[in-house]
Subunit: 336 residues, 2 copies
């Protein structure tokens, strides 16, 4: 086994940092390292934290990490920055806000951006979670900003997903909420000491009742079906439903954090029950496998087909001689 | 040729609406229709509008559409909703805000969500743009909420991308801006009549200077390279650089819209010059082709490999007997 991997498993923080950089850059040889690490994963509890801008997610994550530390748990934090797929600049602000945690060797914070496309970011995030898991952290918190793919990725990697809201964010943000509500295992109304918090709670309750989001594992299952993944049997009707609770916090004052941890514990207990966790994991693995297969198939194709075939087809599309979907058929017909 | 296509090309609005629904649902037979339509596309100017929540994008789009109408141009608006990949609920609010435009037959507004994954949304958006292009609209405005993949998609489909900002949105939103700044051809500071607008302009200027984002066509080129697309020759050094201008608007008052259109016209002129448009289009087509190939390859694989192979491999990953990347190799080794 690789020296670095051994050091990682032994709790060496420098090896951890180096491996995370390797993951972020998706370096050559990473596959072997991840393969060595993999048997040592699956022990950490992965908590995804997402929500609209301005809800105070980073403050909440900091408060949550402190509370887990007080309970004697080690905590790793991954701040995912999906906003810069091109240059890969990580959000400095998050790290600044989390400086309260610095100096505690039981906490490890890492911002993750990507130099590649968003597919690359979702792969790197999954890999980083595994590296931190193998390093022995009890709790891994994955925080992401924004709406869209990054939230979905969180739902596909986390065991418990928190969706954070706050009062007074306006209409446009409300629109974002409607979408990410569906991936929530727990809804957090942060800044609950501000005016309008009760309204926010009320409107979330209404949305929950309207949307019947059910448990996130169903959402993941649904996503799987969209990817044409075979359904793993019918939803069993005797299965208990998880209704996302709404927890009020004022993270900057440390208020409501104990209640939040209690809700997370209830969710852990719920998943452990009735093999729901096994099912959730299996669905997550299924989707990851498909993502990786898609990438691998494309890499194979690029080796089989000479570059000038692509250039030629692109020219013909641009000249409007052939449409993109017919061009796909034309390219695939040339595979030897 | 399909009757519906003929009606679409003849300007029939009901055929347009029906085809957009077909696109949104990615119905069987859509490929043939899009193939018939394709030679009639490429005439509209596609403007992408994106930015953080709360910047007043919909109001800006409405004002922009009105101004183009006053200039005698027909306008189609696509409001992309990437926030609900699971249930596919379109943002009703946008349509409500745009009701000023109703009753004008020279304007067509459509919200687009997706019943599938985000890849599906980006495909449907590209297809919808082509349908509206073939229907003869002069200007197609694609608006999207949120950060992440949807912005990238806009950069990959639009000819001119506007990134909208506004004063007083707070730190977290600032973080989002850093990422999407890079896809901007034109930066719009909306709500410029509000306090703090000068600060917003100043901070955008600083970010522009720090980030050297250059022209978006370079960003698209960069994205292409990330997808391992062959580079289309070196960046020519005699090539003129496009420096994104910052335009101040107060869209709800109709202020600054003429200046914005002037900036868009300058960008159109810039792209027409020096074959930059041809290059941008070619890069966009390249990325689309790769996306479609990836999907097609996966569909092929699912036909070739029996379902139980996947189930078996997923079980072995879950038991930590094999890591996901090695599992990919194992599956591909079984392709007959």
């Amino acid at each position: 086994m690789n020296d670095q991997v051994e050091q990682l498993l032994g709790g060496n923080r420098r090896a951890l940092a180096r491996l995370l950089t390797a993951v972020e850059n998706q370096v050559v040889g990473l596959g072997e390292i991840l393969s060595d690490i993999f048997p040592h994963t699956g022990r950490a509890w992965v908590i995804g934290v997402t929500g609209a801008p301005g809800t105070g997610k980073s403050t909440l994550v900091t408060a949550l990490a402190k509370a887990y530390r007080a309970l004697g748990k080690t905590v790793a934090i991954i701040a995912v920055d999906p906003t810069s797929p091109f240059s890969g600049g990580a959000i400095l602000g998050d790290r600044i806000r989390m400086r309260d945690l610095s100096g505690d060797s039981g906490v490890f914070i890492r911002s993750m951006a990507t130099r590649g496309n968003l597919g690359g970011l979702s792969r790197a995030t999954r890999d980083a979670i595994r590296v931190m898991d193998a390093a022995g952290f009890d709790i891994i918190i994955v925080e992401t900003v924004g709406a869209g793919q990054s939230e979905v990725d969180i739902a596909l990697a986390a065991k418990t997903t928190l969706v954070v809201d706050a009062p007074g964010l306006g209409d446009d943000v409300q629109a974002i909420k409607a979408g990410i509500l569906e991936i929530a295992d727990i809804l957090v109304v942060n800044k609950a000491d501000r005016p309008g918090a009760k309204n926010t709670v009320r409107s979330l309750k209404t949305m929950l009742e309207l949307g019947h989001p059910g448990s996130r594992s169903q959402v993941v299952a649904h996503h799987g079906q969209l990817l044409q993944v075979e359904s793993k049997g019918e939803v069993e009707h005797h299965e208990e439903m998880w209704i996302p609770p709404i927890v009020e916090t004022a993270a900057s004052e440390g208020k409501g954090i104990d209640e939040l941890i209690e809700s997370i514990n209830r969710h852990i207990h719920f998943l452990a029950n009735d093999e729901a966790l096994v099912k959730l994991e299996s669905q997550q693995i299924e989707i990851e496998l498909y993502d990786r297969l898609r990438d691998a198939l494309m890499a194979q194709l690029l080796q089989k087909i000479p570059g000038n075939v692509f250039a030629d087809v692109i020219g013909r599309i641009q000249a409007r001689e052939i449409d993109p979907e017919s061009a796909v058929e034309a390219v695939l017909a040339k595979v030897p």
